[in-house]
Amino acid sequence: MTESHSAPTAVSRLLAETLTGQISRREMMKRAAAMGLSAGLIGTMLQVTGQSLSAQDKPAGWSLKAPKDLSQEFKGQTISVILGADGPVVPWEEAAVKLFSDTTGVTVKRTSGPESTTDRLALYQQFLGAGASDTDAMMIDVIWPGILAQHAFDLTAAMKANGAEYFERIVKNNTVDGVLVGIPWFTDAGLLYFRTDLLEKAGASAAPQTWAEMEKLAQSIMESERSANPDFQGFVFQGAAYEGLTCDALEWQYSNGGGTIVDDDAKVTVNNPAAIAAFDRAKAWVGGIAPKGVTTYKEEDSRGVWQAGNAAFMRNWPYCYALGQAADSKIKDKFDVSAVPMGEGDGATHADCLGGWQMMVSKYSKNTGPAAEFARFLTSPEVQTSFAIEQSRLPTIAALYDDTDVLAANPFFSKLKPVFQGGAVARPSSATKDLYNDVSTAYFTAINQILTGQGATADLIGKLEQDLQKVVSEL
């Protein structure tokens, strides 16, 4: 008799424990079997917990919510989308896709894209160049709107339907000849990381605002730290000959009042005294406050030096924040971030290179309706909130930087809003269209040669100007 009384309570407790994630489903099965429950009942329990787990994946439940006014007119249709590369983001994306399907009745086939952005672009160009209709929507890098505009379905109406204020600079970047190539999904910007403990030791109370202040601090911290740690560096950044250097160098140039590489009308504007002065300053860092090897560093090389506690300052992307705060990090709670420093002359301003990803719909798609609706869903304020909380992705909507849940999960987001509203500088990808990579390649090659001392800065920039003029004449 006691058996029949206690069994239901035990079963419900077991179910509750599984659903809240205190025990695994395998553990639940073992205990259920030990209680002598029937196979049928265990099967039902597995089904119940399985459904709720696969919908949320994380037992505590993600904050995913669908926008209220999603269109119901595409019920029964199927779309194929290419989203993030395999990694921790996949379960979140699958949960989001399922929520969209459940709400609209549209079947979504999700595929992971390649990890390398260059490979991803080559893949997209293959099927878009062939006019293939089998992929309806895909995520695209912030520098691709110009390259992919010729294949894009205009998403202006879809973005408006979300009724949110997206960052103007990103929307401008994504608009080519009046067509919105992609709705901003999440963003990225260059940041200055600094060691709060060492700055305090050096008597500085806040992050340096100008490059000159940063250099002085880096020099003095480096000198005092080197007695104990001969490998200590003042400043690390990305100096290898690749796309990352284009971002770093554009920040130096723009923040010094040196304008951009190519302006909005595709006129070459890189050859000016303020830009040359900025590059000369960077050249002096190499072998000074920065290690000589910095001209071969990419993001992870700089983070390697920084996170081992061997640098006072680092220029890098927001992803390093969460990693630096990990339990096994040597610099946990010893660092903070701020906007990238600026120059001192006329037109000097904070400039953080804009990164991030957009949702694009192919114009060759046979289902542009549901595909655009899906793009609108992923980029909606509701879904971006969850993306920020659960995956630390930076929202593209200003209001979300004031959201208390978002800020609780990512305290450093509060510092980033002004960066995206004002200081973020975009690479000239919309102006140079499908020739952006030619422009960027010529630029980072010249800057890398400056940094490694393979010629006078003014000469190399003069040659760069000629090369760029040849490229833009093809536009």
């Binding site: 260059t118 080559a122 997209y124 160009q125 293959q126 878009l128 160049g129 390259i147 010729q150 294949h151 490998d231 560096q233 290898a240 000959a241 690749y242 072998g287 290690p291 000589k292 090897g293 910095v294 001209t295 071969t296 030096v305 061997n310 499908d434 990579n437 030619d438 390649t441 980072f444 090659t445 890398n448 040669q449 490694t452 001392g453 393979q454």
Partner: protein, 317 residues
């Protein structure tokens, strides 16, 4: 089958000399020739699809301005891509870098490989173990070993600097091996030598092992020194194996991509012709210009092969 039945009355081979390409004289001979063609047809088809077609297509593309995934109009630009190529200082320096890389890496690998092959060809205890362990660098994928060496060359944490500066005191201060333009290519060549010498040694060892030992015994009786034996006997008899090894390595070295791309990306001071071509084809989506570069690489390698095979033929008399 029928064919089998006809094989039986094979005529006694005639001594009549035939010109190499004339058709067989007898009906049986003609039928056998047809059958032979039938047998090689599948391989011919495969070669046609995977080698000839891409090659012809690359030649064709090199005369156009085609771009990957572009809706721009494709037109014939004649020799413009080639003209641009040879007026591009980056391409010229890529060729120079590649020639330097090929000459020095193959040179060092041959000399070191020869020394190693001669050593492990002699009898000593633990020879099997040495032969196996020698192959370890060759067995590591290049992308992995290049990344590994990149860390070893690191200017701040690298073990190379640590040994030279802190342990052996050969240098006063740490050197940024890969970041110093004049040192980067030699550093990369050193990695290739480290990796590929075992392969060279193995090819030469195979050549050494077919040289009959009685030749050496006879020369020892005649009073030849070890040095004389090497120059008068070993080297001439090893020549065919050496030439084959050199063909393989030169072709391989001229196409070098992975070790340079992993360590230095698109930095001009180490860019090889293969890295240049990838940049044009993939990053810049210029199928026309990239194909022109690929065609030039193909022609240079072809010239190498023709040169070497001539050498072999001269050897064979």
């Amino acid at each position: 089958m029928e064919v089998g039945a006809e094989v039986a009355p094979v005529p006694v081979p005639t001594l009549v000399k035939r010109r190499p390409w004339s058709p067989p004289d007898t009906a049986v001979g003609r039928r056998r020739e047809k059958f032979a063609w039938l047998l090689i047809l599948p391989s011919l088809l495969i070669v046609l699809v995977v080698a000839v077609y891409p090659l012809v297509n690359t030649f064709y593309l090199s005369f156009t301005n085609k771009r990957l995934g572009s809706t721009r109009e494709v037109r014939n630009v004649g020799l413009e891509n080639y003209a641009n190529l040879f007026t591009d200082p980056l391409w010229i320096s890529s060729i120079v870098n590649t020639l330097k890389f090929t000459f020095f890496s193959v040179g060092f690998e041959t000399v070191l490989g020869m020394i190693i092959a001669l050593t492990i060809n002699s009898n000593f205890r633990g020879r099997g173990l040495v032969r196996t362990s020698m192959l370890v660098p060759w067995a590591i994928p290049t992308v992995v070993s290049a990344t590994m060496w990149q860390w070893m060359y690191h200017d701040v944490f690298g073990v190379v600097n640590d040994i030279l500066v802190n342990r052996l005191h050969l240098l006063d201060q740490k050197v940024a091996w890969l970041a110093t333009p004049s040192l980067a290519l030699p550093a990369i060549i050193a990695v290739d030598v480290w990796k590929t010498t075992p392969f060279m040694a193995l090819l030469l060892l195979a050549g050494l092992q077919v040289i009959p030992s009685d030749v050496f015994e006879a020369s020892t009786v005649d009073g030849a020194s070890k040095w004389q034996q090497f120059w008068q006997i070993t080297l001439p008899l090893l020549r065919p194996a050496l030439v084959v090894a050199l063909i393989f390595r030169t072709m391989d070295a001229f196409r070098v991509f992975d070790v340079i791309f992993v360590m230095k990306n698109y930095a001009p001071e180490t860019m090889s012709v293969a890295v240049y071509t990838r940049q044009k084809l993939i990053d810049l989506q210029r199928l026309g210009a990239g194909s022109a570069a690929a065609v030039v690489i193909f022609l240079i390698i072809l010239a190498f092969v023709v040169m070497y095979t001539r050498l072999v033929r001269v050897e064979e008399g």
